[in-house]
Symmetry: C2
């Protein structure tokens, strides 16, 4: 956060107040994560002189800390090689429903129609994908394998909306590939001829006499730098999860999450710069929330309950959905019930906090309402014995009565586990990256992508969406900015 | 909504572009509902020349359509006369918790500390309150009685947070008193000497060379009118529930509600005018949602369940909480289960859509998951027989096993009932009404109150909050604007 003497992001400077330009480019990209890198590459390839400003000492941003999954589909070479028959239309049906309510239909449609092209673009720019499938869903493979289910496509209700296909594509590197992805993209930025300045933080936009964005004011070593952008500025500097006041004003539920996913600069400055130039911010209540429950996947045979001992979701759902439901709808109260058959310690080392010889005893020990957990499990077990789950439609392969003592409960409350989160709301943009006012008018010279913008996920999230829409719409924003 | 040739609310005019001022005042108030009226009175009483612009043919706005309840407390004369011992501190504890998460603590505190003064101000300005209590909670009395519980203060969890007191104050008029309230406030506006222009819609702000608000552009008979505001503009023109696009971008859950509470002009124009001048909008996901389930109150003995046949709230909660929970957390799926003892047709004529001789049969007829409603009622009945509700803490007086056939289910799904709604998000303001940027800087010359601003209710709502914070913070905004 800038101190009080610094320029205020929401108070754009007037061009007439700029004595001289310290730096000059056609396109100025603010923030060198995934979205900024792709914007810079496209703008430079389109012939623009590109200057990238990065607040940190090097590029990478929060993208480099990620697992590296990119949501791609519609029939990518990896999907085909692994025997999955996906189409843009099936991908669209899933994403429109799964990203809502309130998802931006034209954005979702364009993303799905061009997803295969985007896959090839990534490969052409140095990001390889192994033609292989990894069966453990929801997260990147620990190997260099590529394809995973990462949004619960094969679980209820999504499997009733669209034909399931795995669409999480991890670049070919072991384990978390976000760092690898960004290495490759940063190399592409360099190859494209974009100029990179690090340790320089954009602070507020500069508007000309017609309210067109003409550049920006940045701070380097405490000194103001006036940066001219002859064709456009692309804001791609992440979200606002580190700004506690903005979180309280827009998405207070996320304050329950202990783990703010950020490389240290997601303080909403770029978003406020856009607001200062007249942009609208939308879907500001939305946040990604994750809690890694599996692997191993067998744990899904347990049952998740809230503070009233009630189930509230199918346990085979994408764990981002589960954690989001816990934080937004259950006040962060979640317990994971197992019997002797289903219990094991997951890869993150989550152990049972309570163990008992009967469900009644477990209920008492956990402090759930008298009889509530018993009623929940009686109903669940009766159905599970017939391999059905009429309440939440958990997949039959995970249904088994919890009837083998001892019973255990893994405490998943927000007060005891660090739910991982980042914000999804941001500047309103057209698919081409043009930043819009609340009247849907574009702000000349201003573009945004990545978590500074509201992207595909209006509320519902799947793994790989942020790198996916950041890279794809980052490219479009870079191209739009190069056109000016 | 203005057509394309009209000024865009988010594009403020520059003062140098204004050839001449058609109208001139010290303080210009935009919108003459409850907040605008109180702002106009205070500004005029402070010595300012006040001009009120109303888009409709007469003042009143959505406030005039309301039930007229005003949330007041801390020991008002009515509370005292009726034997209720309330304090500002107890009121504060309730409102801070009940208006959250994310409630604005300084605003809530000031409102509670000055609530008794505000009561006297209202009476001194022609709004009388009978010293009487009406026992049916949540809505205005059909008589001219005054005081009601209107936010579930005496129900769980609020009765564990603060000492319960009724705080809904209805002006002394039979049934819905919003029209009466506005008659009295409009008379006060006239007496104070404020000038009123009707059939004129404010469209965008005018900024001077220092970005101070200098006035606004309005439309009358399709012609632009430049309106000078020498000290300040107060935006008090309602919310944005009529703008389907804004609802989709900020609070898509509210699209499920069939009844948009508005006198016809809550299209977000005033809010967008503020955005155009650099204001921040906060808590934009929040909405009031109501469905009148009682009177008679005896109906509370029934049980509310979601689409999984599970309870999700104490049925004696304020019905605004119930409807909000249904729309935001249960996808608008809600069913009301009764037995022969508890069933009756409520004052709104809601009848059972399904009737059966057993719960199992009722469950099948409604189409709830096999065994789910039976499990819910078995647990509920067992506890109700001992007058406890360990899951949701419904009050003992409403607990009775549902065991007398026939059983009935009243369909309360959003697809079959018109949930009433309006938006709660709006411009970020200081308690004094100063409109703030996302950097918390005031925008010189700009003030807001009522549903154009984010007020007391960050998310949680009680009846009487909108007239309450509209009138109270409207007064403060008027006074601040008069100071300039």
């Amino acid at each position: 956060m800038p101190d009080d003497a610094s320029p205020r992001p929401t108070q754009p400077r007037r061009e007439r107040e700029v004595a001289r330009w310290d730096l000059d480019a056609d396109v100025v990209v603010v923030g060198l994560g995934c979205a900024g890198a792709c914007a810079a590459v496209e703008a430079a390839e389109a012939g623009a002189r590109v200057l990238v400003l990065e607040q940190a000492a090097a590029g990478g941003g929060t993208s480099a800390l990620s697992g590296g999954l990119i949501y791609l589909g519609g029939g990518t070479p990896v999907q085909k090689a692994c025997g999955y028959d996906d189409t843009p239309e099936e991908m669209f049906k899933f994403l429109l429903y799964g990203s809502g309510p309130g998802a931006d239909e034209p954005k979702v449609r364009l993303y799905c129609e061009r997803s295969v092209e985007h896959f090839h673009w990534l490969e052409a720019h140095g990001v390889p994908f192994k033609r292989s499938f990894y069966p453990e869903p929801s997260m990147e493979a620990p190997t260099d394998d590529c394809l995973v289910f990462c949004g619960g496509e094969d679980t209820h209700p999504y499997n009733t909306i669209a034909r399931p296909a795995p669409r999480g594509h991890k670049p070919q590197a072991p384990r978390a590939a976000g760092g690898f992805l960004m290495q490759r993209l940063l190399a592409a930025v360099e190859r494209a001829g974009a100029r990179l300045e690090c340790d320089i933080g954009a602070r507020t936009l500069v508007l000309d006499g017609t309210d067109r964005v003409a550049g920006l004011i940045a701070l380097r070593d405490g000194q103001e730098q006036a940066v001219r952008a002859r064709r456009g500025v692309v804001l791609s500097a992440g979200g606002f999860i580190l700004d506690a006041e903005m979180v309280a004003q827009h998405c207070p539920a996320l304050a329950r999450c202990g783990w703010k996913l950020s490389s240290g600069h997601d303080d909403g400055t770029a978003l406020r710069m856009g607001l200062g130039a007249g942009a609208a911010a939308i879907h500001m209540d939305a946040g990604e929330v994750a809690l890694g429950l599996t692997p191993p996947r067998r744990l899904v045979r347990g049952v998740l309950v809230n503070g009233q001992g009630q189930r509230f979701i199918n346990e085979d759902a994408y764990y981002g959905r589960i954690a989001q439901a816990s934080i937004y709808r259950q006040g962060g109260e979640m317990y994971w019930i197992h019997d002797d058959d289903t219990y094991e310690v997951n890869d993150l080392g989550m152990e049972a906090s309570w163990v008992a010889d009967s469900i009644a005893e477990l209920e008492r020990e956990v402090g759930l309402p008298d009889g509530a957990l018993q009623a929940t499990l009686e109903l669940y077990n009766r159905h599970a014995a017939r391999a059905v789950d009429p309440l939440f439609h958990k997949g039959a392969q995970f249904l088994k009565p919890l009837d083998r003592p001892p019973f255990g409960c893994i405490d998943l409350r927000a007060q005891t586990r660090d739910y991982a989160t980042f914000t999804l709301g941001g500047l309103r943009t057209r698919p081409g990256g043009e930043v819009l006012t609340a009247d849907a008018d574009p702000i000349p010279g201003l573009f945004a992508a990545g978590r500074t913008a509201s992207g595909l996920a209006a509320f519902g999230y799947s793994s790989g969406i942020s790198l996916g829409d950041g890279s794809f719409f980052g490219r479009l924003a870079g191209r739009s900015a190069a056109r000016g």
